[in-house]
């Protein structure tokens, strides 16, 4: 871990340890947003418990002049405000780093390390002397540490006032009390420590044209822009904020100002089985519909997803992955549903999946998911995760093309049906495996029967082997067509003989790791999978590299399994780097894994390289 030297200007990580439910989130957001507004690239990650009040919670803010958006793997400044976690919090600080704590009470445990600088600020005492009411004092203690940090890190108090003014536009009395708490901390730090620290901030201009947004909000926005009108879901962490955001956007953008009519239906279902059923019913009936869930919901939705695959009903589903198996750790992140999503449901079933790596892609891939679902007449699963979905990410401002119109795929209208002698739902007139569909209420000649039982290409029930196989084989043809319709994998690199493949939220850590490895003389080509089925480019990349690292966040190397199942790659040349602690993968983890493999003594144990 790098020591803290003056070169750490705009390049360090600070971590704030508090207790859940004490209101620290607003102070942390204030800090992060103030850094962002100073033009300095910043990342914020919230490690919170599955609890309403009382359990430990951490917030990690990484400041990166080079724009790295992953966890670095080290902490240079710890704000330790939770006695329950003092011991581990102290341990985590990098040598030469700093620790700030509430010195209202003596805390000998925090003074155990001699290689870090401990800064005591009597936060509780300052707030008790200046504010009344228990709740206010607790809340203001958070703003107070933000003030102390502003002094220590050289943050502009006026910029923080500007943010408070925006946040409390409707409660102006809160602006002054918050400013008072900020100044208390700020002035105490200035009077007692050499401010700013060597870790300080200097304004830059690297955040212009960017926004700070979480992936669930971005995905919800994508659904609004794609024209989705029916949203059905059952509450489950960490997907709930996606639905909340959709509802919020619709209430602002889709309510008729005169009549009050809502141009959307938002349905809280009785369970995940019903949620996906409602999505299928609505999509089958011509509305753009979606649901959002997490791993346990994917398990429950399996039966309906198989029906949708076989009966060819479009649907859009967001899986915000959390830690499994079973209930797992609901507020921690993982990429553990890759296999469950790809082959969701019994029988020969395969599902189209999209893998956003950040909120910007949550927005664009949400729109693309609706188009693909209708074009391919099948469910499209947007496989995101808690890290993308619930953390604020810095991304380039989203763009929208006003020429966009929904692609409804092969759908016959009234006039077209009228001209037909007879309509058959599951024929393949164009040879791409995609049949024509009709909607209820349009024309009696367009009527057909949708069923999950065996059916012929004419849409009738069958138990005939040949007729059954004709449809199954045509579905496989459609799957081949899908390979060229889904977003291609992104490939970059200097043309090395060693490659690296990753997926989803692992991307930002991989990018930083590649830069660090290049500085160390190790260059790798990089492919990021963005969809299932894999396109030709994935097959080619795997064939062209002697050795390929596969970086993913689960224990069982699920991406590696998918690659070996669905491409011709030789299993032995894939090396897994598996991170499954529940925290987002750090760049250090990848750097160390690659170095160990490429530089490790031959035959030595490679703990990170897992054979499946």
């Amino acid at each position: 871990m790098a020591a803290c030297t003056p070169s750490r200007i705009n390049d360090f990580t600070l971590k704030i340890a508090t207790v859940n439910g004490t209101g620290s989130a607003s102070a942390n957001t204030l800090l992060m947003k103030a850094i962002f507004r100073s033009g300095v690239p910043v990342m914020g990650k919230n490690f919170f418990p599955s609890n309403i009040q009382g359990l430990p919670t951490w917030y990690e803010i990484r400041v990166s002049r080079d724009g790295h958006l992953a966890r670095s793997g080290s902490i240079e400044l710890m704000v330790a405000l939770n006695p329950e976690t003092y011991a581990r919090d102290v341990r985590e600080v990098a040598p030469g780093g700093y620790l700030l704590y509430d010195s209202t009470w003596p805390r000998p445990v925090l003074l155990a390390r001699t290689d870090i600088t401990v800064l005591g600020v009597p936060l509780a005492q300052l707030c008790n002397e200046n504010f009344t009411g228990v709740r206010t004092r607790i809340l203001m203690k958070n703003i107070c540490y933000a003030g102390a940090l502003a002094a220590l890190l050289n943050l502009d108090l006026e910029r923080m006032r500007e943010l408070l003014t925006e946040t409390y536009a409707r409660k102006p009395q809160l602006i002054e009390s918050n400013m008072k708490a900020l100044r208390l901390g700020f002035e105490y730090a200035r009077a007692h420590f050499a401010c700013p620290l060597p870790l300080a901030l200097e304004p830059m201009d690297r955040t212009a044209g960017h926004i700070m947004i979480d992936g669930n909000t971005a995905a919800a926005l994508g659904c609004v822009f794609a024209g989705a009108t029916v949203a059905a879901w059952y509450p489950i962490t960490p997907s709930t904020s996606l639905m909340d955001a959709f509802k919020g956007f619709c209430e602002r953008l889709r309510v008729d100002p005169q009549s009050g009519e809502k141009r959307f239906a938002f349905i809280q279902a009785e369970d995940e089985l019903a949620a996906i059923g409602m999505v299928l019913g609505a999509s089958w009936n011509g509305a753009r519909a979606f649901t959002a869930t997490s791993g346990p919901g994917i398990s429950l939705m399996g039966e309906f997803l198989g029906l949708a695959y076989y009966a060819e009903v479009p649907a859009v589903l967001f899986d915000i992955q959390r830690v499994g198996p079973s209930t797992g750790m609901p507020t921690r992140t993982q990429q553990g549903d890759l296999l469950a999503c790809a082959y969701a449901s019994h029988g020969d079933t395969r599902q189209v999946c999209l893998y956003p790596a950040n909120p910007a892609e949550c927005f664009t891939l949400a729109v693309e998911a609706f188009d693909l679902a209708e074009r391919l007449q099948t469910p499209v699963l947007v496989v995101s995760d808690l890290d993308i979905g619930m953390n604020d990410w810095m991304c380039p401002q989203f763009q929208w093309d006003d020429a966009y119109r929904p692609d409804r795929g092969k759908m016959l209208g009234r006039a077209e049906i009228e001209k037909l002698d007879k309509f058959h739902r599951y024929l393949d007139p164009q040879g791409d495996g995609i049949p024509w569909r009709t909607l209820p209420g349009v024309h009696p000649k367009g009527a057909y029967f949708t069923r999950g039982s065996g059916h012929t290409q004419f849409g009738t029930y069958t138990e005939d082997s040949h007729d059954y196989q004709v449809v199954l084989d045509r579905l496989m043809k459609k799957w081949q067509t899908a390979k060229s319709r889904v977003p291609p994998a992104l490939i970059e690199g200097p043309g090395s003989e060693v490659g690296l493949v990753s997926i989803g939220s692992s991307d930002s850590a991989v990018h930083e790791a590649l830069a660090l490895l290049a500085a160390d003389g190790i260059t790798l080509d990089y492919l990021r999978v963005r969809a299932f089925p894999f396109g030709e480019e994935v097959e080619r990349f795997l064939a062209e590299h002697r050795l390929v690292f596969v970086v993913e966040q689960n224990r069982d190397a699920q991406l590696r399994s998918l690659l070996t199942l669905e491409t011709g790659v030789e299993k032995a040349k894939l090396r897994s780097l598996l991170h499954y602690s529940g925290l987002p993968v750090s760049s250090h983890f990848i750097v160390e894994g690659v170095q160990a493999e490429l530089r490790g003594a031959s035959g030595a144990a490679r703990p990170s390289a897992v054979g499946v």
Binding site: L221, T229, G281, P440, R451
Partner: protein, 353 residues
């Protein structure tokens, strides 16, 4: 779902409805159920009701789950889209479909296994949402396709074909629906078409959730001595509460009712239900009394049939009414009214800068 094409031959002298269509236009594929199955009579009653209502076939949506009853959606109105969902999950498909297009008529066909066991949750929640649909349970107390297991509607003491006696209390869909706030609750018997057809007509026209529980004997597995869902037992123990006659909006009143004998209730589209009391002092608009009457008859081993409960104001709490969706179906709204465009995006993103 078994499908056998039925030749469409129409005789010029067959009676036509307001659309100029004969009953044949409302038929579907040939049934593959057992000869004498109660469900086929229900299918015939649906054909009759749809023909009488002069529904445009494409404006009907047929939904079902899994089981013998759920097969029957293929046997009527072939000009309507059908959706044979997974076991017990038809209500969620109906909810989504209805959310997408409120203008169509939704008819769901289910069985006692599909509704009262695997699908109990979805059934209850469709009622809670007061989804605008007609939900019909073809109730025979038995699992037919898996060869004769008791269902959750089997009565205590009812004997299975192989001799086993049911000891668990039944779940009664009528009582359940009354409890959950259903706005139209009826019970029929597949063997009484005269009672059933107007119930189906009224149920289709009712705005909100309409339930018709239909005792529909299984001739193969539950029509023997000792069964409480056999033809013989049902005929014997059928206790009509209220005879409902359905009067379409345009139709003149042809039947004269003696004062005090009949009561007329207008449905939201102007059509009317005329209720003739069969039992003394029965008030089909009183939810508590209706529930008490059903229970009392049940204690006597009888099935109270007819239009058991109707809330004439039921439509006010209907799914779309509560949701505030426009009259124009959601699936037909112009894209421009849904997407805020680049200017809208810029505005929305303001708070994330």
């Amino acid at each position: 779902m078994t499908y056998i094409t039925k030749p469409k031959l129409t005789h010029p002298s067959l009676p036509q409805n307001a659309l100029g269509m004969t009953r044949r236009a409302y038929e579907g594929a040939l049934s593959t159920l057992c000869a004498g199955c109660g469900h086929d009579s229900v299918t015939a009653a649906i054909v009759e009701a749809c023909w009488r209502l002069a529904l445009e076939p494409q404006n009907l949506v047929k939904l079902s789950g899994i089981g013998c009853s759920s097969k029957t959606t293929a046997y009527f109105v072939s000009g309507a889209h059908g959706f044979n969902a997974v076991h017990g999950r038809m209500p969620s498909i109906a909810t989504g479909a209805n959310a997408a297009n409120r203008r169509l008529a939704y008819i769901g066909i289910s069985g006692d296994g599909d509704t009262l066991s695997i699908g109990l949750g979805q059934f209850c929640h469709a009622i809670r949402r007061n989804l605008d649909m007609l939900y019909m349970i073809e109730n025979n107390g038995v699992y037919g396709l898996t060869k004769g297991q008791f269902s959750a509607s089997a009565d205590i003491g009812s004997r299975a074909k192989k001799g086993e006696v049911n000891r668990q209390p039944p779940i009664d869909p009528v009582l359940l629906a009354l409890d959950l706030g259903a706005t139209f609750v009826a019970r029929g018997f597949s063997g009484d078409k005269q009672q059933l057809v107007p119930l189906i007509e009224a149920g289709l026209q009712h705005r909100g959730f309409a339930l018709i529980d239909i005792l529909s004997p299984c001739v193969t597995f539950n029509d023997h001595e000792g069964s409480t869902k056999s033809y013989a037992y049902t005929r014997e123990h059928d206790e009509p509460a209220v005879q409902a006659d359905f009067v379409p909006r345009e139709a003149p009143i042809l039947v004269e009712y003696a004062p005090g004998e009949a009561r007329e209730i207008a449905l939201h589209d102007g059509s009317r239900v005329v209720l003739r009391k069969a039992a003394e002092a029965y008030d089909p608009t009183n939810r508590e009394a209706a529930g008490a009457a059903v229970k009392a008859r049940m204690a006597a081993g009888e099935y109270l049939t007819g239009l058991i409960y109707l809330d004439p104001e039921g439509g006010s709490g209907e799914f779309h009414a509560l949701n505030g969706t426009p009259q124009e179906p959601l699936n037909a709204l112009p894209f421009e009214s849904l997407c805020p465009g680049s200017t809208g995006l810029h505005k929305v993103l303001g708070r994330y800068r």
